[in-house]
Symmetry: C2
Subunit: 357 residues, 2 copies
């Protein structure tokens, strides 16, 4: 049975964000939220709406000479005691408030209310952005229906603190396999404890000095982190394997291949398996469409540190930037929140840009 979820795009973007947050949509279980978004958009005759899995695409078809995409993912990382949402003063707290249901609320409101934009607009709401790239809804969409993503320019409403963020860093996951030799734990000296030996991997990670390169005028900041560790056979066995899963975030001056080589080099003492990699995108703010958007939004652009689907638009030949109301520094933290005024400001600026005011 689907929960009885109804979204009202005529509410304020703050209220709309709270409503979106309260429909839990951890990656893989976006169904109820996608249903609610689809149902809300089908109410508007100026939009043609298509559903693909748990992605929803709504388009104006006004025959304008140019088309832009506004895109956002509707999934979140796992719940961490931060649902439902709550308002404290001028701030909305809760899972996804920053990354990126506030941006999705802006998309939803603009889709409903901007009936006569100066350019044709494609609003893309998609699933599974917070997990392995092969599950990404935008990737699926680009395979099933590439024409639906065609445009002259795209904006991803990922959290950027209302500043245009250019490009994005790549992300690579790898498993570092530390071997040992099994033995009864009452005679541990007969074996070799793989978990104890994994200390060397963790010590390396702790001491790791990340690069902070400048690319096309923007400063990136890399990172190499353990995001998982597992080992153990039974409570009385010295384990013969410990696996550390690491996530390398790399600046867009490195290709996916160079990133993989780097991780293999850092962990040269062990078996390294690359499990997942998505390349970054250089900022590309020299592009005319991007430059005009930057001028319209104001402020000084900076580097996008998180991987976002600007890289996917980049590979589809669509120039893209990140611009959204959330604070990127709060994404995926338990205390995730967003200022209500920032959401309203993002809505207002983008409405002006779309209508050509």
């Amino acid at each position: 049975m689907l929960p009885d979820v109804k979204l009202d795009p005529s509410a304020s973007v703050g209220e709309l964000t709270a409503r979106l947050v309260d429909v839990e949509s951890v990656s893989g279980s976006e169904g109820p939220l996608a249903d609610a978004i689809e149902a809300a958009l089908r109410e508007y005759p100026h939009l043609s709406v298509v559903r693909d899995g748990n992605a929803v695409v709504a388009r104006t078809e006004l025959g304008r000479s140019r088309r832009v995409v506004l895109a956002g993912h509707i999934d979140t990382v796992p719940v961490a005691g931060n649902l439902p949402s709550k308002v404290e003063g001028d701030v909305l707290y809760g899972l996804g408030t920053s990354d990126m249901k506030s941006g999705v609320a802006v998309q939803l409101k603009l889709a409903a209310e901007v009936t006569a934009p100066a350019v044709d607009v494609t609003y893309v709401f998609y699933d599974c952005e917070e997990v392995e790239s092969e599950r990404n809804g935008l990737l699926r969409l680009s395979g099933n229906n590439p024409a639906s993503l065609a445009a002259d320019f795209a904006v991803l409403l990922e959290p950027t603190g209302s500043v245009v963020e250019g490009g994005c860093q790549g992300t690579l996951r790898a498993e570092i396999r530390v071997p040992g030799e099994r033995a009864h734990s009452a005679r541990a000296w007969m074996g070799r404890n793989a978990i104890h030996e994994a200390a060397a991997v963790l010590n390396l990670l702790t001491a790791y000095q990340a690069r902070q390169p400048e690319v096309d005028g923007l400063r990136y900041r890399e990172g190499l982190n353990a995001v998982g560790i597992s080992g153990g056979v039974a409570g009385n066995v010295v384990p013969d394997e410990c696996v550390v899963t690491v996530n390398y975030r790399f600046a867009p001056d490195r290709s996916s291949e160079q990133a993989a080589d780097h991780v293999r080099e850092v962990f040269a003492a062990w078996q390294v398996t690359i499990t997942d990699v998505a390349g970054g995108a250089r900022p590309g703010l020299g592009n005319q469409a991007a430059a005009s958007f930057v001028a319209a939004m104001g402020g000084t652009p900076r580097a996008k540190l998180g991987w976002t689907d600007v890289a996917r638009f980049d590979s589809l030949g669509v120039p893209a930037v990140n611009y959204g109301p959330g604070d990127p520094a709060l994404a995926h933290s338990r205390r995730e929140h967003v200022a209500l005024v920032a959401i309203a400001e993002c809505e207002s600026r983008m409405r002006s840009w779309l209508t050509g005011d």
Copy 2:
């Protein structure tokens, strides 16, 4: 459907061991093996057989003035590519060959063939010795049917390399909880990586100097090992918790409480949860029954390093020792094996002892 397993106690103890090994019986799934043992023993009119869960107890009821217990567990640690058994020269390889299906084979053969022992004998075959102590079949049996374990003396046929091993070390498991702070892995410096910080726990374990105290004339050897580690929220999240499970094997000059205090002291920087503890047993070879058994078996007794159910018999007021054909140093290793001649020798010595020859 139960596998069609049949055991023939008239086979040699070597063949019988191979047959027992080939019936997989990882802790919690001993049913088919318990069925086969029960069915085999019920063939002999000189035995009264009782089943309790996956434990089987067979007793002679000859009205002798003294009664001894021969006991062994029928479960094994998880399979590690070491099934089925195979014979190479005079050696039998496979999971449980040493710990402790060779001992179980001796019990089974003696139960079947020693129809007129000099003392009454209780043969105990029990389940779940290789897991948390609350699941232990002998513990369950001592609750359901304590009279079935009453005796003047008990021998556990755990692997001892055919030397009497006195007492046993205690075993304690604890979870060491390392906290962190969640963040998006693209901005790791906003959080604190619990897995990276667990390096301190692993470094402590690597540097740990274990005690080797002498207790009642026997030399014990302690150990502190990680037997499990887990951490990780999602592939793009800096994790806020990493849990290391450690197993402390402590000499019988320390009580369970002292062992817990020691572990809490070693890991004083973190939250420590004791999840499982089973105290050891002092050697107690001054006891007359134990001393006469030692004399009958020959050799110089030594300390038992692994925890065994001698501690449980000890707490039931039954003096107990370990004596079995397996090599304790091979228990729980992938290359577990036993010399066929050692099984036959154990059978022969114990047969002489039981019949009073």
